[in-house]
Symmetry: D2
Subunit: 217 residues, 4 copies
């Protein structure tokens, strides 16, 4: 089995992005441990650009033919690790991306469906994180910036060209040293442990739990 | 022009629901002022039940043939009035509804599309609230409880049976006296003023602003 | 009876400060209503400077010989109007003040007591705000910036030179249009109504309620 | 050198209290590592009772004659580990303690000073936590419940009977599995690591850093 795990480069004036810092750490630890999960792990850093991010992702999928793709991004202000449940066909950028583009009310894919559900076992993943004492919950919005753009693009790829591919998106909190001192944060090491558990959960089960992970609003 | 505005009954152990308190106040103030907006306003309280809420909504739409429907619900913990942009075809109840039902991972409408966008001019509404010094932003998730259920059901009605109907959902914060003292809240009077402005904005314009109201996550 | 009510000028890069905007509105409304409370109201804008703020305050107290002094400042991120209970003899500035000074671990008054309690009926004030449907709670820290500096200086003045003077500090949330869109906020008009109620409560009673307004942490 | 480190028993309906869970883990890890810091570590669980908590603390101090005392308590809703800077001479209990007592507006020590500053190097501690990628900040209020009661009582003991004793209080966030799913939390293991670093920092230095750790409000 082959797993592609991506993080993002920094954006919005920050010097680091904990999504990529954590993804890189996952790869280091997995290699150092001798790939104990039995799957091949490919990691990559995506540009925080509406234009190029999906080009890079498509090339990763084409090159590696992964069984599972997990894209990871930063969600500043969230208190835990949050697997996303739904991607929306909407770009609405509050700030310019790293290439200076700021699309407003444009679909990710012209003519695509309004939304896709991700296909990771998000409830089983959250349960695994809770058992490991890591704050986590299912999220029902990935926003309307590059993260949602990549998530929608990934699920559209799976829906149209790679039907065997299971994929999803995970948002992670700030890291402590990142300069957002009033906001919640998690050590990068904890976030990396969470991502490893999400991959492990995904490769070892194909169905999700039938428990509630709903949001009242 | 005819407008239907709904709020919800209390749920989750609360004694009041600011959505209905505010909707009722909107109706009182509009009637007392002699219906100055030139539209007919019908208000109703929806049951906080997956089963009956859409029955009641459908009957309201069938009876009154409204041009605009705005459903309002409480979003405890939010800091402002938040018009919703997207409804998802998913019921996942964290707690039982007022009839004791707790659907998990069930579609609102079997075979319906994954999501609908609302058709209110949400950005123009938020701008009108900001001009009135009321905290507001566009939201991209209405959750997976009865609020999202009603929103999705409303947009499905519009898509399948009432093509002229414009509709949407607005989440409102707690009220100060409601017993959630650590959470953000708004006076019911302020929330009512916000809803009046949302209706006024909706009936006086048919297109939305082309400004960003996006979320980074 | 004479009441001095102060707000602060903007600081930290903001273009406005809701504390002064609300104080000014209180004065306008009180004058327009013909001073219905029977007290004389003097308002002033304090500089957001460690050095000059207490000079200005001392001159206000010397000139007007007020019975009550209420100083008001902005507490960005708070969800309601928060009368402060305790002032601490500590300046520790996270950012420079408007004069460029940034004292670190310096007492407000060399040799002064570690802290003073304010002498407003803070619990009765919070109850009055709750009855008016305005979010409010008692706070037990005014921070270590210019707000706490002024609060401590005021209580030290009362303790050492003006024993008849009753005084205190009230922190207020951001206003909606201020540029902190993810933070809680209150309309300036609501904040002004709150300040009017706090003055009214203070001038019409001399003892506080015996109810809890405590914080678990 | 001898260090006393205390946590609290659960309160407010919770089944666990991460302060004690983390303190116990610190002791286990320190013993398992062969007491590498060269100090003797004594840990104890304090009752969450206004009446008995200080009796137990006084007995611990009398029995063990510690050089350093660090009391730890839970601060539900905080996003990081927060060494406290100031204890206030005020009990104002929002809820009854575990013995059913609910003091309102009573001093911790009749006739004591309004407040004490703690004597841990709180800024150096926070810096050590940041270097370890753990979210942390200095807090300027320990509330008015049993935590502040114990903190004030400890500093009063030091001021009146044990002048060599250095002491302070540290508030810690919820743990992930504790049942407050919408609130920030930290793994107990991370909190334990933080407490170990706070003890290490305190026993290896006697003066604090001269850097700002101030709060704007």
């Amino acid at each position: 089995m082959r797993v592609v795990l991506t993080g993002f480069e920094p954006f919005g004036g920050d010097g680091t992005n904990p999504s990529w810092d954590a993804v890189r750490l996952v790869a280091e630890q997995y290699a150092a441990a001798g790939s104990p999960g039995g799957y091949e792990l490919v990691v990559a850093e995506l540009p925080c650009e509406f234009g190029r991010s999906l080009d890079v992702l498509r090339e990763l999928v084409g090159t590696h033919a992964p069984d599972v793709v997990v894209c990871v991004g930063q969600a500043g202000g969230r208190t835990g690790v949050t697997p996303e449940r739904v991607a929306v066909n909407l770009d609405d950028a509050r700030i310019p991306d790293n290439a200076g583009d700021q699309p407003i009310d444009v679909p990710v894919v012209e003519g695509g469906p309004t939304a896709y559900f991700g296909t990771l076992p998000v409830k089983a993943c959250v349960e695994a994180l809770h058992e490991a004492d890591i704050p986590a919950s299912v999220s029902h919005t990935a926003g309307t910036f590059v993260c949602n753009h990549v998530f929608y693009g990934l699920m559209h790829l799976a829906a149209t060209e790679f039907p065997q591919l299971r994929g999803g998106f995970v948002h992670v909190p700030y890291a402590p040293g990142q300069g957002h001192e009033d906001a919640p944060s998690l050590p990068v090491e904890t976030t990396a442990r969470a991502l490893s558990l999400i991959i492990h959960t995904t490769v070892t089960r194909t169905t999700d739990l039938h428990t509630t992970a709903g949001a009242l609003h």
